[in-house]
Symmetry: D2
Subunit: 159 residues, 4 copies
Amino acid sequence: MKPEFKVKSINFKRKVEESFNRQKFMKLINAKLVDVKPGYCEIHVPYDLNLTQQHGFFHAGIISTVADNAAGYAGFSLMEENSSILTVEFKLNLISVGDGEMLIGKSNVLKNGRTLTICRSEVFIVKNGIEKLCAASQSTLIELKNKSDKAKKRGQVYH
Amino acid sequence: MKPEFKVKSINFKRKVEESFNRQKFMKLINAKLVDVKPGYCEIHVPYDLNLTQQHGFFHAGIISTVADNAAGYAGFSLMEENSSILTVEFKLNLISVGDGEMLIGKSNVLKNGRTLTICRSEVFIVKNGIEKLCAASQSTLIELKNKSDKAKKRGQVYH
Amino acid sequence: MKPEFKVKSINFKRKVEESFNRQKFMKLINAKLVDVKPGYCEIHVPYDLNLTQQHGFFHAGIISTVADNAAGYAGFSLMEENSSILTVEFKLNLISVGDGEMLIGKSNVLKNGRTLTICRSEVFIVKNGIEKLCAASQSTLIELKNKSDKAKKRGQVYH
Amino acid sequence: MKPEFKVKSINFKRKVEESFNRQKFMKLINAKLVDVKPGYCEIHVPYDLNLTQQHGFFHAGIISTVADNAAGYAGFSLMEENSSILTVEFKLNLISVGDGEMLIGKSNVLKNGRTLTICRSEVFIVKNGIEKLCAASQSTLIELKNKSDKAKKRGQVYH
């Protein structure tokens, strides 16, 4: 289930880091890009009261953000130098409440097609140093060739 | 597709508002609970650079937060006074980029079962005053009877 | 939520019917293509003991077949004359058991993009003449341009 | 990702086999229950022209049947002797066309909760003896305690 992937851009790591750093929402929630390998990405978000739902746990919106973004960058790591990426859709199961000091999102590419890429993510909640499965998702991503990830295209349509 | 629902708690509106107001993440992203009816909820989030992805548009994590939260409170409006609610899972299609001045999430209950409730949400992006479909989701929620929405239950498991 | 669509092929109806008739699995389960409009499709499957699960009701596999196929042909109705279509993914909620004399699947296109099309389907179970919501799904379809729907391409990859 | 599970019924294997054998749709499509372990199930379906879509490949409805049923019985293997099971929902990505001589569905339980169970399935297509990933799904199942899997409950609601 974890095939080895060949990258199409030798700068895949820098490309992913630069894109991640341009996402101001990642800064707002203090998310860290912890690992990027071909077809793999890991993102951490430390607990903060501002990120919580009604019971004081991580909000499902943060959990899905971590799952979606880990998937997006796992997929982006395999795309061409001049491609941009968009999430087509994802499905997320919430498995345990986000009760802990850190969220860890890990995503692996299942299939890297010419146009579409499929990923599976797991989000773990760390409490007292112990990782527990918090959520699991499955995502479809689309590669937009010759569309810079930097350019702001007003009025752009997803796919 | 939009059946009429009978509420089980006459305080359903206040119950939803109080729960929404306890979610600190809603404050962080400046989300407003704009409408609550039996089996329906509407949430607005104004544009802010802090909520953006790499192209300066609303981040998919914010779009999914709006879809998920609208679904959760549409479902919660139909639950008993002493019930708590959790999202079991949801699936979201991103349909247009979040390029505009406001996100509007609207969710309707499709089926309110004894244990599980199914909702469909649409998220619209408003640009120059024109609403455009930005995302569509389908969610499964679980009603936890006799579990106060206020209580913080450390170590709690979802379902 | 039900925008009007312009067809790209004036033969859209015949194209859908011919494709449906080439699906031998539709014959096996005695499925009928009952209605095709631009962006809409309706499929019926009468009860048969051969289509049941352990309690004697319609099997979830038949319910998902009806939801997926209605979505596929709702989307296909809007595609170009020389395009083929494939389902990228779908998500289905089973809402009531398939206890009745007929399944009715209805699907509407939510968004017809250049490459991807998003549909929502509902499957109803008819018992003693009364329709009840049995399942609801949301699907992503891909248009393969200049790939005949008739050609059998051995070794073909989805997308 | 593949935790070890303790069964609650020592007859789990027989229970799964008997339920599978009561599903007349499995007989129609000539599906074989090939392996059942605690939290795991494997189902095979040999190629037959009656199971095909318009290009002569396995129909997506068959692929989703295999994914859903493998998930259902993986979950059922962990449930109590007197419980019944229903699929709440599933999401399936179709990854390669079903072009081959056999479909193999394998499913693993990710989380076995008190009420809900989450599974991930993979469906492989075998061509000339080589297995290739054809589809991947994620499912939510519900355990109905003290509801015999054999009883036919007319008018029953899912959850």
